[in-house]
């Protein structure tokens, strides 16, 4: 078996104060192979961002993290800042949801991009700037030479996301984590950004984690899809398999909510009834039980574990077949 590029084992993230404890991620385990593209879907608060922010060491200071996150064999949790900084931004990159605020406002685009290269590879500023220009070209930003001398506020959201993407790709990462990279953009720009991601991936063969709450975004790119609910991974399967035959009732319900252009015209778009559980609630039961159409007594008493072969796992007592 290939050595996974990212190996998360029994990761839990808790936020505790005197009165209560919140569990943002509860015992999640996953493996991402080199060159693989994994989509992660889930509602807001399902812990999908937290999981990967933990890998980048970007959680709030009071988060209590247990478990293990290994990147290319090296443990990231509890690693020294200097060691983390060697990996972050070079071999392990991340882009964020909101490109409007992710660039330092007072630095020129060229400087911000070049800084990454100067910082990690120790090349000269002149060299770094020309490499930055070439990278901007690759993410299909128009007029890259001029952009280098512009400030972030002179660029539109889509352009800024391309800049962020270029920045994260500069050091040829082995794994790029894209946390809802297109959520803040309009649909046409979204399609372009995803296209750039696809092109870059086929060129460089980097692994990609695509976090989204939108199946449409993930469906086009992902080899494999993880579905998260209430801080847990509830289903893990090959993308086309999961999209065609979801096994967890939650995945199935989520997929039903995706509006389709070809299907019958509906008076009302379907939604998932009820609310996800509060993160503080101690759960003995299946967290999805209150909203699940298939819930039985067992679901309210016993929490199902993620089980199955490595290519198809589901955490449900009564999975759909």
């Amino acid at each position: 078996m290939v050595v996974p590029i990212l190996n998360v084992d029994e990761l839990s993230i808790r936020y505790a104060d005197r009165s209560r404890a919140l569990e943002a991620v509860a015992g999640a385990s996953l493996r991402i192979a080199p060159q693989e593209c994994v989509g992660v879907v889930g509602e807001s608060g399902s812990g999908k961002s937290q999981l990967f922010l933990a890998a980048m060491g970007l959680l709030a200071g009071h988060a209590r993290v247990t478990g293990s996150i290994r990147f290319a064999g090296d443990e990231l949790l509890g690693a020294k800042a200097a060691a983390l900084n060697r990996v972050r931004g070079s071999k392990l990159s991340m882009i964020f949801q909101d490109p409007m605020t992710s660039l330092t406002p007072h630095l020129r685009i060229g400087t911000q991009l070049a800084e990454v290269l100067v910082c990690h590879l120790g090349v000269s500023w002149t060299e770094a700037r020309s490499a930055a220009g070439r990278m901007l070209e690759r993410v299909q930003l128009t007029d890259p030479k001029r952009r280098l001398n512009q400030y972030p506020h002179e660029l539109s959201g889509g352009m800024r996301q391309r800049v962020m993407l270029a920045m994260s790709l500069l050091c040829r990462p082995d794994l790029l984590i894209a946390d809802e990279p297109t959520t803040a953009l309009d649909v046409t720009v979204q399609a372009q950004i995803l296209e750039v991601l696809r092109a870059v991936r086929s060129e460089t063969g980097m692994a990609l984690v695509l976090i989204s709450h939108d199946f449409a975004v993930i469906a086009g790119l992902a080899d494999r899809i993880l579905v998260m609910y209430a801080g847990r991974i509830v289903e893990n399967a090959a993308a086309d398999e999961l999209l065609r035959r979801p096994r967890h009732p939650y995945s199935a319900e989520l997929l039903k909510c995706v509006p389709s252009l070809s299907g019958p015209r509906l008076a009302r778009l379907p939604t998932l009834a009820g609310q996800p559980p509060q993160p503080g609630e101690a759960l003995q039961a299946c967290p999805f039980a209150p909203r699940c159409p298939r819930a039985a007594d067992r679901c309210r008493l016993e929490r199902p574990a993620l089980a199955g072969s490595s290519m198809s796992q589901v955490a449900c007592h009564f999975p759909l077949s």
Partner: protein, 281 residues
């Protein structure tokens, strides 16, 4: 950035008082630097023929003389030079210390922040004059020590302001992006935090200069600052107070010099604050 600066300059120009105030400040600085060339009198020669002479154009003592017959024009300009220099140097020290201290406390946060802020509170709890007297007693009287000791207490508010700004900047996505890019703490503070707090820092600094000039004058007035035969506006005013009834110009000349300088600096600082005070740059 350039757009931002253009914008700020435009707004500064639009504010009715700031530009005249700036011109007046420049005029004062030019006079204090080049004024002595216009008049042959120096600060230390005693003119026994004209002791405590009133201002006149006839005997070359344009602003009169003091009770030892020294030319008040030369002494006022020399005093203003010292006052302005102390204002600038002490402000520079307070910016340097305040910005780095505040940015480090705000960015690192947690216990470090707590500790650093408590230290500031203790220092600002000390009576300022007592502190300066204490320093002069220990290290002796010197002009440079005065620069340092005023600067050393002037940075407290600056550090608080910068820390407050840093706390909000730390939450911004671009800081998370910088961390994700593998930038170390020092680099983030220097390149991504500090340049973003520069607006409030400039504004507060322009308002610090007059405060420090006033404080220096106050110390000199009490006899703790610049010593004879040197002069600062404060020590000149202190001398003038003694002769207020017989020779009011000894008080009025350095007094109005100080008043005009402070007024202009404050008006300009206010104008600058209005010009730079934008919600989101």
């Amino acid at each position: 950035m350039s757009v931002f600066l253009d914008d700020a300059t435009r707004r500064l120009r639009a504010s009715p008082a700031a530009v005249p105030a700036l011109l007046a400040i420049l005029a004062i600085v030019i006079i204090t630097l080049f004024g002595p060339w216009l008049n042959a009198n120096n600060t230390e020669t005693l003119d026994w023929l004209h002791v405590a002479a009133h201002p006149t154009l006839q005997n070359a003592h344009w602003f009169g003389t003091d009770r030892l017959g020294r030319d008040l024009y030369a002494r006022t300009l020399a005093g203003a030079r010292v006052s302005i220099a102390i204002g600038l140097v002490a402000s520079a020290i307070s910016i340097l210390v305040g910005v780095s201290y505040g940015a480090v406390a705000g960015y690192i946060g947690g216990r470090t922040d707590h500790l650093m802020m408590r230290i500031i509170e203790i220092l600002s709890g000390l009576p300022l004059i007592f502190f300066v007297i204490f320093l002069t007693v220990i290290f002796g009287r010197s002009e440079y020590l005065l620069f340092v000791s005023i600067g050393a207490v002037g940075w407290l508010t600056m550090a608080r302001i910068v820390r407050g700004q840093t706390l909000s900047i730390r939450q911004q996505d671009f800081i998370a992006a910088a961390v994700a890019g593998g930038a170390g703490t020092g680099r983030i503070i220097a390149k991504h935090v500090v340049p973003n707090v520069i607006g409030p820092v400039i504004v507060y600094a322009t308002l610090t200069v007059p405060q420090i000039i006033l404080f220096e004058s106050f110390l000199s007035f009490l006899g703790l600052g610049i010593q004879e035969p040197g002069a600062s506006l404060g020590s000149l005013i202190a001398e003038g107070v003694g002769e207020m009834e017989a020779a009011p110009w000894m008080l009025l000349v350095p007094g109005s010099f100080l008043a005009i300088l402070l007024l202009c600096l404050n008006i300009f600082g206010d104008g600058l604050r209005d010009a730079l005070d934008v919600k989101d740059a």
